[in-house]
């Protein structure tokens, strides 16, 4: 027992003190941060798309511009309120014309800032009526009439950099229209050239009569993957065309909106006492939280048992193993190694868990999620944490036994890497079935896979929100423990022969023969001799 402890202690210290381990600890949180932050950063660095519009209709471009201005102003109004709520310092830097709007903005319903902004633009520039404008508070309608012109004049005179500073979501951050209101066909040839040269991202041609149909309207670009501009401009144009059609058919926009209103089914769930309850975002997340744990579990089990394998191969290739075997038995050595790496793994995984919990506590807040979305209480749910740790230990033991057996017959790290793909192929399965099982945690697939021991840890973790019945827990765990005992027994037999073996790694058939042979017997392929 003391020898097992000595081996484990050395194994733990040797692994924990490496740079690789520190990197490993930081790797996971770094990966998460990069995965979350990178798309946003990339979005920010993307330069604004330059586009031109050839308007054959004579009215639609102006209408679209109005709508875009209204939307941009809406964003600005929203951020005025946000800044007012957050703190005096930022708010005091806003231009007075915006500061004065706070009392009016306060009276608006959520989302009404856009209606107000569009209505303000329409009130000044004329044009199509804005749906919902009648429901704006009286004060807002008055402001639109009295101060609208001044606000629009200020806004249109604002340099783009200052406009962007007011709200990150204004359109000029992403799309910039360059002059091009001409309508002659010769201009299109000129625009084609500019698109080809990369000077323009794309240009639009609006057909002569867009209210009748799409004839003559087109979008020309050499970029086939980024559809944002087409969708954004297209939806603004469609809105305005729709409004025009309603007007020409003399249909009240309110009526039109009501006609289009879908029938909504309120989603409810049954509480444990059988009462109907509203479903909150939190409940959905609770259902999906295990998936995050499965992912973490998968990475942990795989990387830690891999660590054991590589460690065994390195020990073998450094030829220190026979010296050790003169002092400890192979089984003691194996037990010590498995225990030492388990301790290393637990240290690693616990630190990841801490990062994970801290991450769920602070990251959503940084990304603007409401405080009511309490992710960290999900992440620290004892059922999840305890099942995670239990399944980590069980999963690690199973895969450790398999990989240490494989590792012991390899002489170099590259031999070992050649052995990994089949194991990997098998291990992909619980990862692929993660989402289907998350959707249906007590379904057929989930139940069947729970009883396949190599999948049990991942699948049962996956089902934690179900949750599975106690009977299932007992049976699957018993089966898993039996498999671990069998795998350790076979792994130990392979290990005690494999570690002394030099030369080409044996075939699977030979390894299976070792497992079947009685302890102490060492069957070896007939074409090699021991010295």
């Amino acid at each position: 027992m003391r020898k097992i402890f000595l081996v484990a202690q050395r194994e733990y210290l040797a692994n924990v003190k490496t740079k690789g381990f520190i990197v490993g600890i930081l790797f996971f949180p770094l990966l998460l941060t990069v995965m979350i932050a990178a798309p946003q950063l990339l979005e920010r660095t993307r330069s604004a798309r330059r586009y031109a519009v050839v308007d054959e209709s004579g009215w639609l471009l102006a209408a679209v511009e109005q709508r875009i201005t209204g939307t941009d102003l809406g964003y600005v109004f929203e951020s005025v309120l946000e800044k007012h709520d957050e703190g005096a310092e930022q708010f005091s830097q806003l231009p007075p014309i915006l500061q004065n709007l706070v009392p009016v903005l306060r009276q608006l319903q959520p989302g009404q800032a856009f209606v107000f902004a569009r209505h303000l633009v329409a009130a000044v520039d004329g044009g199509l009526a804005v749906p919902g404008a009648e429901r704006l508070p009286q004060a807002a309608r008055a402001v639109a009439v009295e101060r609208g012109a001044a606000i629009l004049e200020w806004w249109r005179g604002l340099p783009p950099s200052e406009a962007k500073a007011l709200s990150s979501r204004v359109s000029m951050n992403r799309f910039v229209r360059v002059n091009g209101t001409g309508s002659s066909a010769s201009r299109q040839a000129e625009l084609n050239r500019r698109v080809r040269d990369g000077d323009l991202f794309a240009y639009f041609v609006i057909g002569a009569d867009p209210t009748t149909g799409s004839e003559g309207s087109k979008y020309v670009s050499n970029n086939l993957t980024d559809e944002d501009l087409r969708e954004w401009f297209g939806s603004n144009a469609s809105q305005q065309v729709r409004a025009r059609r309603l007007e020409s058919e003399d249909i009240d926009p309110e009526v039109a909106q009501w006609i289009q209103e879908p029938l909504r089914f309120e989603a409810l769930k049954l509480s444990e006492s059988g009462e109907e309850e509203q479903i909150e975002e939190r409940d959905t997340l609770r259902q999906w939280a295990p998936v995050a744990f499965v992912y973490l579990l998968w990475i942990s089990v795989w990387s830690v048992s891999n660590m054991l394998m590589m460690n065994t191969v390195e020990e073998k290739s450094s030829r220190v193993i026979e010296v050790l075997l003169s002092s400890v038995s192979p089984v003691q050595l194996l037990a010590g190694k498995i225990a030492g790496i388990a301790a290393t793994g637990l240290t690693l995984v616990s630190s990841w868990l801490v990062f994970f919990v801290l991450g769920t506590k602070f990251v959503p807040r940084l990304m603007g999620a409401p405080p009511s979305l309490d992710l960290s209480s999900l992440a620290t749910d004892p059922t999840y944490i305890l099942s995670f740790l239990a399944y980590f230990i069980l999963g690690y033991l199973l895969y450790a036994a398999i990989l240490v057996g494989l590792g012991s017959v390899c002489n170099t790290v590259s031999d070992a890497q050649n052995m990994l793909p089949p194991v990997m192929l098998f291990l992909i399965i619980p990862l692929v079935s993660m989402i289907p099982i998350g959707r249906d945690p007590n379904g057929m697939l989930a139940q069947v896979m729970s009883f396949i021991p190599p999948f049990t840890p991942f699948v049962m973790m996956n089902r934690a929100a179900g949750p599975p019945t106690t009977m299932e827990y007992v049976l699957t765990t018993a089966l898993l423990v039996l498999s671990i005992v069998a795998a350790l027994w076979a792994g130990a037999k392979i290990f005690r022969i494999g570690v002394l073996l030099t030369g080409k790694p044996p075939k699977l058939k030979e390894i299976l023969r070792w497992v079947r042979a009685p302890v102490g017997m060492v069957p070896v392929r007939s074409d090699r001799r021991e010295r």
Partner: protein, 300 residues
């Protein structure tokens, strides 16, 4: 019980290959016992069985009066395939070997430091093993074998890869062990080394014992030969009549005569062709014994 090690009819098979067959040998306490044999003869397998890393299929092994697996802590073993943990400090490495043999942690650490000092490696105590040269690494390994002061030490090719200075240091170490009453088994295929320090010889070939006994006994079994130290063109040896075998090493040669050949005649012919510095009659070298035993068997 006056034997440190007794093997009785030990047989070990790997599948259809017989690695060691019906080998019996006794190693007395306080002796230096050489295990000799060509590559693949079964030396390492025999040693692994003594260390209970492998188990014999038949026969029995008694080490220090007990079954081998029960007294691992009283044995020291330097395998042929040896290595150190690259990232571990030399001092920690030695101490770890000691602790695995049952030494208390503090004692092992203190003794590791002392041994490294004693063998001129003091400044390496806190250096990682990967920084050691091959010879230094080997010295650390040998010290690791001895740190717990074992009663029986088995050294598999301890001199391989060492320079003459270190060979001497290790040889002195082995002789010192015998002086203190320890038993040393060491395997080699360099006959000169074995001849210099062994009290007993055990020769194995193709898994079978070829001969064993004291060095003197083994050598006296072979017939006497002429030893000639010379300078000049050695091709003359091939023209000598009445000669059965010659081991010509360039500056010195061992000549075995056929029945009835007069050594005086041989000397006469030699002085005409080369400068003879020494010419005497004596027991065959271990090299000759080895070649004859192994070669003869191979011819059969």
């Amino acid at each position: 019980m006056n034997n440190a090690l007794t093997l009785t009819s030990v047989t070990k098979r790997f599948g259809s290959v017989v690695a060691v067959e019906d080998v019996s040998v006794s190693v007395p306490y306080g002796s230096i016992y050489g295990f000799l044999g060509p590559n693949g003869a079964g030396k390492t397998t025999t040693i692994r069985m003594i260390m209970s890393i492998l188990y014999p299929d038949a026969g029995s092994i008694t080490v220090l009066g007990s079954a081998p697996e029960t007294i691992k802590d009283r044995l020291g073993y330097l395998p042929e395939e040896k290595g150190l943990y690259k990232k571990m400090k030399a001092g920690d490495m030695l101490a770890y070997f000691g602790k695995l043999k049952g030494m208390a942690s503090g004692e092992a650490g203190a003794r590791a430091t002392k041994l490294l000092e004693q063998f001129g490696l003091g400044e390496w105590t806190d250096k990682k093993c990967e920084a050691l040269s091959k010879g230094m690494g080997q010295k650390v390994q040998i010290l690791g074998t001895l740190i717990h002061d074992p009663e029986l030490v088995i050294l598999d090719e301890p001199f391989a890869g060492l320079d003459p200075v270190n060979v001497e240091i290790i040889r002195d170490l082995i002789l010192e062990l015998r002086r203190r009453g320890r038993t040393v088994i060491f395997s080699t295929h360099v006959m000169e080394q074995a001849e210099q320090i062994c009290d007993y010889i055990f020769l194995i070939n193709k898994g079978r014992k070829v001969l064993d006994g004291t060095l003197a006994e083994v050598k006296s079994r072979g017939d006497q030969g002429l030893v000639v130290d010379y300078d000049g063109d050695g091709s003359v040896f091939r023209r000598l009549p009445g000669v059965r075998r010659i081991n010509d090493a360039g500056k010195t040669a061992e000549i075995f005569l056929e029945e009835g050949t007069n050594p005086q005649e041989i000397l006469k012919q030699l002085v005409d062709a080369v400068t003879v510095r020494r010419f005497d009659m004596r027991e065959p070298s271990l090299h000759e014994v080895f070649i004859r035993a192994v070669g003869g068997e191979n011819d059969a």
